[in-house]
């Protein structure tokens, strides 16, 4: 097994999940993940593989987004349409789709650094790896994560509450 095979097998799932959560688009996430592994092949030595991969993937997303904002908007729109179409086509997934939409809104409401730190932490990166990937001081990761978590949960709960009120009003 070559080195890139091992890297792919070890980190692809987590990387794609991280990117999917970050981008809201799985196809795009897989594309970025592949590009990340291609970059890894060209690298002669990587000190911390996981931190490096997540950092490169994050930078690729950032660069691409900067370079091609229109495409990103288009994809986000498509993803949104897809979500909506699913809501229409399957009643059983309605609840889950609504939860996903609220989660997306709450995640998007976070500051970029908080969001990335949280998403990386969810993929098992330790504080040092997060600090390295995001070029933070290791001591600030705890603060970043605590802020991200509180904000995420509070925003989500606020969305949930307003939705429940809407449903209540609609019912009465």
């Amino acid at each position: 097994m070559t080195d890139v095979d091992r890297l792919f097998r070890t980190y692809n799932d987590a990387l794609v999940r991280y990117l999917t959560r970050r981008l809201g688009d799985r196809d795009w996430a897989e594309e970025v993940a592949q590009e990340t592994f291609v970059r890894a092949v060209r690298q002669t030595s990587i000190q911390n593989e996981r931190a490096w991969l997540f950092a490169v993937a994050t930078n690729l997303v950032r660069d691409e987004a900067r370079k091609d904002m229109r495409r990103r908007k288009h994809l986000a729109l498509l993803a949104e349409e897809e979500r909506e179409s699913v809501v229409e086509s399957e009643e059983t997934t309605l609840e889950r789709a609504q939860e996903a939409a609220m989660a997306r809104k709450a995640v998007d409401g976070l500051a970029e650094r908080d969001r990335l730190a949280l998403l990386m932490r969810e993929e098992g990166l330790d504080y040092d790896e997060i600090a390295e990937a995001l070029q933070l001081s290791p001591g600030s990761v705890g603060t970043t994560l605590s802020r991200a978590r509180r904000r995420l949960v509070e925003t989500y709960e606020a969305l949930q509450k307003s939705r429940e009120e809407r449903e209540k009003n609609a019912a009465s």
């Binding site: 999940r17 179409s85 086509s89 989660a103 990761v141 705890g142 603060t143 605590s146 978590r149 995420l152």
Partner: protein, 369 residues
């Protein structure tokens, strides 16, 4: 020790603190209810944010696959192929018949050996019957796709196969017109052919409800329809109180003709008898093989029915909903309300209605004694 800041609590819960730091935090939390509450809250945030992020993984990918539609398209191709074959054979029959009985008789006599061979090659009697029924009863044509395959096989068996198929197409009207003979044992080829050529038709034929009626081109009576093929019946959905017929006006393009009928038992019986009649016709084609199952008493169930005639009608009502246009009118012959629906413009539907009525009238005229 002062109270723990939130970052430290999260670091501690995430296991990111050194052993010394972790021990200090732990000791403080044990003594400080305020920080213990903060730790509990932080645990809640960690769990909740994990759960929220997990719901992001429910990213839809792809759309609902359209497999059934693809299958339907395949059927449409087969139907179109079957329709082409049937129309070609039907036209051939008309042309042959119009050239005269004598020519046809000699042709039939010529092909008899090959025909018998072709019949023997037929995979199953039922298939052969269905091939016969294709022209006699357009309804069945598409209900039994394998019949088309059978017909094709017969055609492909040799030079005589084609003629055999054609002669079989001639048989059913004769069988319908000669109900008394249905129950008789095997007849010679010539007898059957003679029936086609000149037998008078008792009124049984007219009891066939017009939408179910055979293509006029089979009988060769209506030249007009030999040129412009009438809409083909591709299905008859059973609905009580309505006689529904699906016509295919172009490959894959169907319209629905609904005719209000009086839902009395007698009418239902007649409809059944009609189906039986088709079978009888088909069996007549097969009696040569000694497989006749049905007999004349079924004729008793048939009820003479007023033959619809082509007549100028009042302007029909037009409705359009979801791209489907429906025209309504009253059939002057039966007094029934007719409803024709399809994804067409009202003008096109009127044209289709005209074609259907012409086919029905031609059929009715042909069946009259």
């Amino acid at each position: 020790m002062q109270h723990l800041d939130e970052g430290t609590i999260h670091s501690w819960l995430d296991g990111a603190l050194s052993a010394d730091e972790a021990a200090r935090v732990e000791a403080h939390v044990k003594e400080c209810p305020q920080c213990a509450a903060a730790v509990a809250e932080a645990r809640g945030f960690i769990a909740a944010s994990s759960r929220i992020l997990t719901s992001l993984d429910n990213v839809p990918k792809g759309v609902v696959p359209a497999v059934p539609r693809a299958k339907a398209r395949n059927w449409a191709v087969w139907r179109a192929a079957a329709a082409v074959l049937v129309v070609a054979l039907g036209s051939f029959v008309v042309l042959r018949e119009r050239t005269g009985t004598r020519v046809q008789a000699s042709a039939a006599r010529t092909v008899t050996p090959q025909m018998n061979r072709a019949a023997a090659i037929m995979p199953a009697p039922e298939t052969a019957l269905s091939a016969t029924a294709q022209n006699a009863a357009p309804i069945r044509r598409f209900e039994k796709p394998q019949a088309t395959v059978g017909g094709t096989a017969a055609t492909a068996t040799g030079s005589g196969g084609n003629a055999a198929t054609i002669e079989r197409t001639i048989l059913p009207p004769a069988a319908i017109n000669q109900p008394g003979r249905v129950a008789t044992s095997a007849k010679s080829r010539e007898d059957l052919r003679d029936n086609v050529a000149g037998a008078p038709t008792p009124g049984i034929g007219s009891s066939v409800p017009a939408p179910f009626a055979a293509s006029p081109s089979v009988a060769g009576g209506v030249t007009m329809d030999a040129i412009e093929a009438p809409p083909r019946v591709v299905g008859t959905p059973r609905v009580l109180g309505e006689k529904r017929t699906l016509y295919e006006v172009a490959p894959g393009d169907t319209v629905l003709l609904a005719e209000e009928t009086n839902p009395v038992l007698g009418a239902v019986v007649v409809t059944g008898a009609t189906t039986v009649q088709r079978d009888t016709a088909a069996v007549a084609g097969q009696r040569r093989q000694g497989a006749s199952k049905l007999s004349a008493p079924q004729e008793a169930q048939r009820r003479p029915e007023a033959a619809p005639a082509v007549a100028p009608l009042a302007a029909p009502a037009v409705q359009t909903a979801n791209g489907v246009t429906t025209i309504l009118w009253r059939d002057p012959a039966t007094g029934n309300t007719m409803r024709l629906s399809g994804r067409h413009s009202p003008t096109e539907l009127l044209e289709i209605r005209h074609r259907i009525e012409r086919a029905r009238a031609a059929e009715a005229a042909k069946k009259k004694p």
